[in-house]
Protein backbone atom coordinates (compact mmCIF):
# COMPACT_ATOMS: atom_id res chain seq x y z
CA UNK A 1 0.00 0.00 0.00
CA UNK A 2 1.49 3.30 -1.02
CA UNK A 3 1.51 6.15 1.40
CA UNK A 4 3.79 9.15 1.20
CA UNK A 5 6.21 9.34 -1.69
CA UNK A 6 8.22 12.37 -0.68
CA UNK A 7 8.33 14.05 2.70
CA UNK A 8 9.34 17.67 3.15
CA UNK A 9 10.75 18.88 6.44
CA UNK A 10 11.48 22.58 6.76
CA UNK A 11 14.10 23.23 9.41
CA UNK A 12 15.44 26.34 11.05
CA UNK A 13 18.08 24.20 12.84
CA UNK A 14 16.57 25.18 16.19
CA UNK A 15 15.86 22.75 18.99
CA UNK A 16 12.19 23.51 18.43
CA UNK A 17 12.30 21.61 15.15
CA UNK A 18 14.07 18.53 16.55
CA UNK A 19 10.91 16.58 17.51
CA UNK A 20 9.52 17.27 14.03
CA UNK A 21 12.70 16.02 12.38
CA UNK A 22 12.48 12.82 14.39
CA UNK A 23 8.93 12.19 13.12
CA UNK A 24 9.87 13.07 9.58
CA UNK A 25 12.73 10.56 9.63
CA UNK A 26 10.48 7.86 11.17
CA UNK A 27 7.80 8.36 8.52
CA UNK A 28 10.32 8.51 5.68
CA UNK A 29 11.71 5.22 6.87
CA UNK A 30 8.30 3.58 7.29
CA UNK A 31 7.09 4.79 3.89
CA UNK A 32 10.49 4.23 2.24
CA UNK A 33 10.18 7.75 0.98
CA UNK A 34 12.97 10.24 0.42
CA UNK A 35 13.17 13.11 2.87
CA UNK A 36 13.60 16.62 1.57
CA UNK A 37 15.26 18.94 4.07
CA UNK A 38 14.48 22.57 3.40
CA UNK A 39 16.08 25.56 5.00
CA UNK A 40 14.72 28.99 4.30
CA UNK A 41 16.99 31.88 4.94
CA UNK A 42 15.29 35.23 5.34
CA UNK A 43 17.78 37.90 4.34
CA UNK A 44 17.92 40.84 6.75
CA UNK A 45 16.48 43.99 5.25
CA UNK A 46 19.33 46.01 3.77
CA UNK A 47 19.41 48.93 6.16
CA UNK A 48 21.84 51.29 4.65
CA UNK A 49 22.75 54.25 6.78
CA UNK A 50 25.74 56.53 6.78
CA UNK A 51 27.86 53.97 8.55
CA UNK A 52 26.64 50.94 6.67
CA UNK A 53 27.95 50.52 3.21
CA UNK A 54 26.24 48.25 0.72
CA UNK A 55 29.39 46.19 0.48
CA UNK A 56 29.25 45.26 4.18
CA UNK A 57 25.63 44.20 3.79
CA UNK A 58 26.54 41.95 0.91
CA UNK A 59 29.42 40.58 2.93
CA UNK A 60 27.07 39.80 5.79
CA UNK A 61 24.66 38.12 3.41
CA UNK A 62 27.42 35.98 1.94
CA UNK A 63 28.52 34.90 5.40
CA UNK A 64 24.96 34.11 6.48
CA UNK A 65 24.36 32.11 3.32
CA UNK A 66 27.57 30.14 3.72
CA UNK A 67 26.83 29.34 7.36
CA UNK A 68 23.24 28.28 6.62
CA UNK A 69 24.35 26.01 3.79
CA UNK A 70 26.94 24.41 6.00
CA UNK A 71 24.36 23.70 8.69
CA UNK A 72 21.98 22.28 6.10
CA UNK A 73 24.69 19.95 4.81
CA UNK A 74 25.36 18.79 8.38
CA UNK A 75 21.63 18.12 8.92
CA UNK A 76 21.52 16.12 5.69
CA UNK A 77 24.47 14.01 6.80
CA UNK A 78 22.85 13.34 10.18
CA UNK A 79 19.56 12.25 8.57
CA UNK A 80 21.39 10.00 6.11
CA UNK A 81 23.03 8.18 9.00
CA UNK A 82 19.50 7.16 10.07
CA UNK A 83 19.14 5.25 6.84
CA UNK A 84 16.95 7.64 4.89
CA UNK A 85 17.46 9.02 1.40
CA UNK A 86 17.86 12.76 1.80
CA UNK A 87 17.74 15.72 -0.54
CA UNK A 88 18.43 19.30 0.46
CA UNK A 89 16.85 22.51 -0.69
CA UNK A 90 18.17 25.91 0.26
CA UNK A 91 15.84 28.82 -0.30
CA UNK A 92 15.73 32.50 0.49
CA UNK A 93 12.60 34.46 1.22
CA UNK A 94 9.63 34.36 3.53
CA UNK A 95 9.47 30.97 5.24
CA UNK A 96 5.79 30.14 4.60
CA UNK A 97 6.01 31.15 0.92
CA UNK A 98 9.17 29.15 0.37
CA UNK A 99 7.87 26.07 2.21
CA UNK A 100 4.71 25.99 0.10
CA UNK A 101 6.71 26.59 -3.07
CA UNK A 102 9.26 23.90 -2.25
CA UNK A 103 6.49 21.41 -1.46
CA UNK A 104 4.94 22.02 -4.87
CA UNK A 105 8.21 21.91 -6.77
CA UNK A 106 9.57 18.83 -5.01
CA UNK A 107 6.14 17.19 -5.31
CA UNK A 108 6.16 16.49 -1.59
CA UNK A 109 2.97 14.79 -0.50
CA UNK A 110 3.57 15.38 3.20
CA UNK A 111 5.06 18.30 5.11
CA UNK A 112 6.34 17.60 8.62
CA UNK A 113 7.07 20.76 10.54
CA UNK A 114 7.64 21.99 14.04
CA UNK A 115 5.47 24.58 15.68
CA UNK A 116 6.15 26.54 18.79
CA UNK A 117 2.64 25.81 19.93
CA UNK A 118 2.34 28.91 21.99
CA UNK A 119 -0.87 30.69 22.70
CA UNK A 120 -1.61 34.33 23.18
CA UNK A 121 0.31 37.19 21.70
CA UNK A 122 3.56 35.35 21.05
CA UNK A 123 1.86 32.71 18.92
CA UNK A 124 0.94 35.39 16.44
CA UNK A 125 4.63 35.63 15.63
CA UNK A 126 5.98 32.24 16.58
CA UNK A 127 3.40 29.94 15.06
CA UNK A 128 2.44 31.99 12.06
CA UNK A 129 4.58 30.01 9.62
CA UNK A 130 2.99 26.68 10.55
CA UNK A 131 -0.42 28.36 10.59
CA UNK A 132 -0.11 29.49 7.00
CA UNK A 133 1.34 26.23 5.76
CA UNK A 134 -1.46 24.22 7.38
CA UNK A 135 -4.04 26.53 5.83
CA UNK A 136 -2.62 26.66 2.34
CA UNK A 137 -0.86 23.38 1.69
CA UNK A 138 -2.59 20.98 -0.65
CA UNK A 139 -0.75 18.04 0.89
CA UNK A 140 -1.28 16.89 4.46
CA UNK A 141 0.77 18.75 7.07
CA UNK A 142 2.04 17.10 10.22
CA UNK A 143 2.71 19.65 12.93
CA UNK A 144 4.87 18.66 15.86
CA UNK A 145 5.02 20.94 18.86
CA UNK A 146 8.42 21.97 20.11
CA UNK A 147 7.81 20.96 23.68
CA UNK A 148 5.45 18.08 23.07
CA UNK A 149 6.33 14.45 23.15
Amino acid sequence: MTTFRRILHPTDFSRASTPALRRAVALARACRAPLVLLHVMTPPSPFIGEDTLPSSYLELLTLARRSAKRRLAAAVARARRKGVRVQAIFAEGLPADEILRAARRARADLIVMGTHGRTGVSRVFMGSVADRVVRESRSPVLTVRAHGR
Binding site: R29, C31, D131, V141, R149
Partner: protein, 154 residues
Protein backbone atom coordinates in the same frame (compact mmCIF):
# COMPACT_ATOMS: atom_id res chain seq x y z
CA UNK B 1 4.75 -4.92 4.58
CA UNK B 2 4.15 -2.96 7.74
CA UNK B 3 6.98 -1.45 9.73
CA UNK B 4 7.33 -2.10 13.44
CA UNK B 5 4.96 0.48 14.93
CA UNK B 6 6.79 0.65 18.24
CA UNK B 7 10.07 1.42 16.49
CA UNK B 8 8.52 4.18 14.43
CA UNK B 9 6.58 5.66 17.34
CA UNK B 10 3.19 5.69 15.64
CA UNK B 11 1.25 2.84 17.24
CA UNK B 12 -2.11 4.50 17.68
CA UNK B 13 -3.77 7.07 15.45
CA UNK B 14 -6.74 9.09 16.71
CA UNK B 15 -9.11 10.29 14.00
CA UNK B 16 -11.73 12.86 15.01
CA UNK B 17 -14.74 12.92 12.72
CA UNK B 18 -17.84 15.05 12.31
CA UNK B 19 -18.83 12.84 9.35
CA UNK B 20 -18.18 15.69 6.88
CA UNK B 21 -16.49 15.17 3.51
CA UNK B 22 -13.31 16.61 5.01
CA UNK B 23 -13.32 14.03 7.80
CA UNK B 24 -13.96 11.30 5.29
CA UNK B 25 -10.77 12.25 3.48
CA UNK B 26 -8.84 12.30 6.74
CA UNK B 27 -10.23 8.85 7.56
CA UNK B 28 -9.05 7.50 4.21
CA UNK B 29 -5.60 9.03 4.74
CA UNK B 30 -5.44 7.62 8.29
CA UNK B 31 -6.33 4.14 7.03
CA UNK B 32 -3.56 4.24 4.43
CA UNK B 33 -1.07 5.38 7.03
CA UNK B 34 -2.21 2.86 9.67
CA UNK B 35 -1.89 0.03 7.16
CA UNK B 36 1.64 1.13 6.36
CA UNK B 37 2.68 1.67 9.98
CA UNK B 38 0.85 -1.31 11.43
CA UNK B 39 -0.99 1.12 13.69
CA UNK B 40 -4.34 0.95 15.42
CA UNK B 41 -7.11 3.48 14.64
CA UNK B 42 -9.39 5.15 17.14
CA UNK B 43 -12.25 7.05 15.54
CA UNK B 44 -13.78 9.72 17.76
CA UNK B 45 -16.96 11.72 17.35
CA UNK B 46 -18.11 14.48 19.66
CA UNK B 47 -21.82 15.07 20.12
CA UNK B 48 -22.70 18.69 20.70
CA UNK B 49 -25.86 19.10 22.70
CA UNK B 50 -26.78 22.58 21.56
CA UNK B 51 -29.48 24.09 23.75
CA UNK B 52 -32.56 23.76 21.58
CA UNK B 53 -34.89 26.67 21.01
CA UNK B 54 -37.45 27.02 23.79
CA UNK B 55 -35.88 24.18 25.69
CA UNK B 56 -37.66 24.14 29.03
CA UNK B 57 -39.67 21.94 31.38
CA UNK B 58 -42.32 21.26 28.74
CA UNK B 59 -40.05 20.59 25.82
CA UNK B 60 -37.22 18.78 27.61
CA UNK B 61 -38.48 15.45 26.42
CA UNK B 62 -38.51 16.64 22.85
CA UNK B 63 -34.97 17.96 23.16
CA UNK B 64 -33.92 14.65 24.70
CA UNK B 65 -35.51 12.81 21.75
CA UNK B 66 -33.52 14.90 19.28
CA UNK B 67 -30.27 14.24 21.13
CA UNK B 68 -31.06 10.54 21.40
CA UNK B 69 -31.76 10.34 17.68
CA UNK B 70 -28.48 12.06 16.80
CA UNK B 71 -26.63 9.80 19.23
CA UNK B 72 -28.17 6.69 17.64
CA UNK B 73 -27.23 7.95 14.18
CA UNK B 74 -23.67 8.71 15.32
CA UNK B 75 -23.28 5.26 16.86
CA UNK B 76 -24.46 3.62 13.66
CA UNK B 77 -22.21 5.77 11.45
CA UNK B 78 -19.17 5.25 13.67
CA UNK B 79 -19.83 1.52 13.39
CA UNK B 80 -20.02 1.75 9.59
CA UNK B 81 -16.78 3.73 9.34
CA UNK B 82 -15.00 1.35 11.69
CA UNK B 83 -16.11 -1.55 9.51
CA UNK B 84 -14.37 -0.04 6.47
CA UNK B 85 -11.06 -0.20 8.37
CA UNK B 86 -11.73 -3.69 9.68
CA UNK B 87 -12.42 -4.82 6.10
CA UNK B 88 -8.89 -3.65 5.27
CA UNK B 89 -7.52 -5.64 8.24
CA UNK B 90 -6.72 -2.50 10.21
CA UNK B 91 -7.53 -2.72 13.91
CA UNK B 92 -10.05 0.04 14.62
CA UNK B 93 -12.51 1.06 17.27
CA UNK B 94 -14.61 4.12 18.01
CA UNK B 95 -15.24 6.48 20.90
CA UNK B 96 -18.27 8.74 21.33
CA UNK B 97 -18.07 11.79 23.58
CA UNK B 98 -20.37 14.69 24.39
CA UNK B 99 -19.13 18.22 24.84
CA UNK B 100 -17.01 20.87 23.19
CA UNK B 101 -15.34 19.22 20.18
CA UNK B 102 -11.77 20.50 20.49
CA UNK B 103 -11.65 19.81 24.24
CA UNK B 104 -13.01 16.30 23.85
CA UNK B 105 -10.60 15.54 21.00
CA UNK B 106 -7.57 16.72 22.97
CA UNK B 107 -8.84 14.80 26.02
CA UNK B 108 -9.39 11.64 23.99
CA UNK B 109 -5.87 11.88 22.55
CA UNK B 110 -4.45 11.98 26.08
CA UNK B 111 -6.69 9.23 27.43
CA UNK B 112 -6.08 6.94 24.48
CA UNK B 113 -2.35 7.73 24.50
CA UNK B 114 -2.59 8.53 20.81
CA UNK B 115 0.72 8.95 18.97
CA UNK B 116 -0.84 11.03 16.24
CA UNK B 117 -4.12 12.79 15.46
CA UNK B 118 -5.23 12.77 11.81
CA UNK B 119 -7.95 15.26 11.00
CA UNK B 120 -9.50 17.38 8.26
CA UNK B 121 -8.78 21.09 8.26
CA UNK B 122 -12.44 21.85 7.78
CA UNK B 123 -15.45 20.17 9.26
CA UNK B 124 -19.07 21.12 9.26
CA UNK B 125 -18.54 24.69 10.42
CA UNK B 126 -18.14 25.69 6.81
CA UNK B 127 -18.52 29.44 7.00
CA UNK B 128 -14.82 30.21 7.12
CA UNK B 129 -13.57 28.52 3.99
CA UNK B 130 -10.50 30.71 3.77
CA UNK B 131 -9.56 30.22 7.38
CA UNK B 132 -8.34 27.15 9.12
CA UNK B 133 -11.21 25.42 10.86
CA UNK B 134 -11.37 26.49 14.46
CA UNK B 135 -11.46 22.93 15.75
CA UNK B 136 -8.32 21.89 13.83
CA UNK B 137 -6.63 25.14 14.81
CA UNK B 138 -7.20 24.53 18.53
CA UNK B 139 -6.34 20.85 18.36
CA UNK B 140 -2.98 21.67 16.73
CA UNK B 141 -2.19 24.05 19.59
CA UNK B 142 -3.36 21.91 22.46
CA UNK B 143 -2.92 18.27 21.48
CA UNK B 144 -0.53 16.14 23.54
CA UNK B 145 0.79 14.57 20.32
CA UNK B 146 1.59 15.59 16.72
CA UNK B 147 -1.35 16.46 14.46
CA UNK B 148 -1.67 15.69 10.77
CA UNK B 149 -4.14 17.93 8.98
CA UNK B 150 -5.66 16.82 5.71
CA UNK B 151 -7.25 19.39 3.47
CA UNK B 152 -10.58 18.61 1.86
CA UNK B 153 -10.97 18.73 -1.91
CA UNK B 154 -12.26 22.02 -3.24
Amino acid sequence: MAADPAAEGFGRLLVPTDFSAGSERAWAEARRLAARLGAELVLVHVLVETPLFSEGPFTMKRARDVFDASRAWAVKTLGDWTTTAAAESIPARWVLRTGVPYKEIVGAAARERADLIVMGTHGRGGLDRALLGSVADRVIRLAPCPVMTVRGTE
